[in-house]
C-alpha cells in the first residue's frame, strides 16, 4: 500500500480532537502507512468558500492536493466534507486543461504544481477497498453480534459520484459491509440516506437544523437502535451536539453517536477510554453496557472461515 497523508481538516482538529485519537489508533492497529504533513490549510469548505468565491475555492483545494502529489503520497481523510471538496476540484481540473494551467501558473509562485493523479480517499471506502473486509474481520477481538446500529453515510462520503466514484451515490453498501464485518446488524430505516441538515446551522438557521436532526433521531428512537454510526465531523456535530441540546430542553432520544473509527477501535480491542469516548456529549454507556452484556455471544467465526484463516488465505 502506498503511503498516505492524513487530511484531518479544520473541524476534527479544532472541535473534536478525540476523533483524531481513535483514527490514529485504528491506523496503528492495521499497520497502515499514514503520515502527518505540514502545510495543509482548510480543504476549503464548500458552503462557505465556494458560495463566495469559486476561484479561490479551487485554488486552495488545488494547493492541498499539489502538496500531497509532490511528496508522492495518496490522501485519506476521516472528514467527508474535506474529501468531497478536494475530489471535486481534482476532477474539475482533470477535465479542464485550461483551468488547470491557470491554477498551476499561480501555484508555481509557491513552488507547487497540481497534476490530478493522487488518490483521494474517504476513510470508510478506503477501509473497504484498500484495507479490505477480510482484514477488518480478521482483526476483530470481540465481535459485535447482537448490536443494532443505524448507519448514517453522510452525503459527501459518496457524492458527487462523478468526482468520488467510490460507491453507489444513492444506494451505497460499503459502510454497511464494514459494520457488518464487525458483527453489527445494520438496521434498515426510512431516513438512512437523509442529509443530516447541519449545513443549516452554518447559515444562521439553528431551528431548522434541529428540525432536521429531530426527524432522524425520532425514527431511530422508535427502532430499538443501540447507536448511530457515522464518519463525518459535521454529521457528528449535528447528531451528538444538537441531540444533547434538544435533550437538555426536555426532548428524549438517547441515541449514542459513534464515529466509525470508534466502533472499529472497540471491535479490534481498544478500550472506550483509550478511544476518547467519554468526550461525547450524548453518553455512549448504554451501547457499551449492552455490548459487554452480550459480548461476542454466539458470534464464533464460522468453521470454514477460521480454517481458511489458519492457512493464511486472507493475507495481512
Amino acid at each position: 500500500m502506498k503511503d498516505f497523508a492524513v487530511f484531518w481538516g479544520c473541524t476534527i482538529q479544532a472541535r473534536f480532537p478525540f476523533l483524531e485519537v481513535s483514527t490514529r489508533l485504528v491506523f496503528e492497529r492495521f499497520g497502515l502507512p499514514y503520515r502527518d504533513i505540514d502545510g495543509f490549510t482548510c480543504c476549503p469548505e464548500k458552503s462557505l468558500v465556494n458560495n463566495i468565491d469559486h476561484g479561490l475555492w479551487e485554488l486552495t483545494a488545488a494547493r492541498n492536493i499539489a502538496m500531497v502529489e509532490e511528496m508522492g503520497l495518496n490522501l485519506v481523510s476521516p472528514c467527508t466534507g474535506c474529501v468531497s471538496n478536494l475530489a471535486t476540484v481534482n476532477k474539475e481540473l482533470c477535465h479542464d486543461e485550461a483551468k488547470k494551467g491557470a491554477v498551476n501558473s499561480m501555484l508555481k509562485e509557491v513552488g507547487l504544481e497540481v497534476g490530478g493523479h493522487a488518490a483521494l480517499h474517504h476513510l470508510v471506502p478506503f477501509f473497504h477497498d484498500e484495507v479490505g473486509i477480510n482484514a477488518v474481520r480478521s482483526r476483530v477481538v470481540i465481535p459485535m453480534k447482537g448490536m443494532r446500529v443505524a448507519i448514517h453515510y453522510g452525503c459527501h462520503m459518496i457524492r458527487p459520484s462523478h468526482s468520488l466514484n467510490n460507491d453507489d451515490p444513492l444506494e451505497p453498501v460499503k459502510f454497511d459491509r464494514l459494520v457488518e464485518a464487525l458483527g453489527c446488524e445494520s438496521v434498515k430505516h426510512r431516513t438512512k440516506m437523509m442529509c443530516c441538515g447541519q449545513g443549516l446551522d452554518r447559515v444562521d438557521q439553528h431551528e431548522n437544523a434541529l428540525h432536521m436532526a429531530r426527524i432522524k433521531l425520532r425514527e431511530l428512537s422508535s427502532l430499538d437502535i443501540d447507536a448511530m454510526v457515522l464518519c463525518c465531523p459535521s454529521c457528528y456535530l449535528q447528531f451528538d451536539n444538537n441531540q444533547f441540546l434538544m435533550e437538555k430542553d426536555g426532548e428524549k432520544f438517547g441515541i449514542p453517536i459513534l464515529y466509525f473509527t470508534e466502533l472499529l477501535g472497540l471491535a479490534v480491542g481498544y478500550g472506550a477510554e483509550e478511544l476518547g469516548l467519554m468526550n461525547h456529549r450524548v453518553g455512549v454507556a448504554p451501547f457499551l453496557e449492552k455490548w459487554e452484556r452480550i459480548g461476542g455471544e454466539g458470534s464464533e467465526v464460522g468453521g470454514l472461515e477460521s480454517e481458511l484463516e489458519d492457512i493464511g488465505v486472507f493475507g495481512l
Binding site: 479544532a14 480532537p17 495543509f40 490549510t41 458552503s47 463566495i52 479561490l56 447559515v203
Partner: protein
Amino acid sequence: MYLDYNLLEKCYKCGACYDLCPSCLNLPGYDPRKVIGDILADNYEHWLNSESIWQCLECHHCLEICYQHYGFENAMTALRTLASKRGLTPQQVKRGWDMFVRTGKLGEPQSSARKRLGLPQAAESGKDSFLKLFKIYQDSKGVKT
C-alpha cells in the same frame, strides 16, 4: 461559473428530485422550481435576501437523481454567490469567510486538548503559503487590497 438556461428550463419543468431533496421534503416553503422560474423570467432579485437560497444543503441528491446530471443546486449556488457580493451573506458564513481569508483555516488545533488526549503536536498550518497565494489570486483578478 455560468448557468445553462436550456438545462434550467428542463429543470423547471421536471422536479424529479423533490422526492429526494431533504429540504424540499422537510422545510415548508422551500421550492427550488419557483426560484428557477424567477431566474428564467429574469425576476430573481427578491430571492437574494431570502432564507430559501441558503436552505439548499448541497447534498447533491438532486444532481445524482437528475437525468441531466445537473440539479438545481447550481441555481442556488449562483444566487448565493450574487447575494454574497451584495453583502447579504448570513452572519456565520461571513464569519467563516473572514477567518478563512485571514488564516487559511476555519479553526485551529487546540494544543492543551491535544496534550490531555496524548496527541502529538499538530502539523504546521500552510497559512503563510496560502496568504501568498491568495494575494497572487487577488492581483490576478485586479482586486485592490
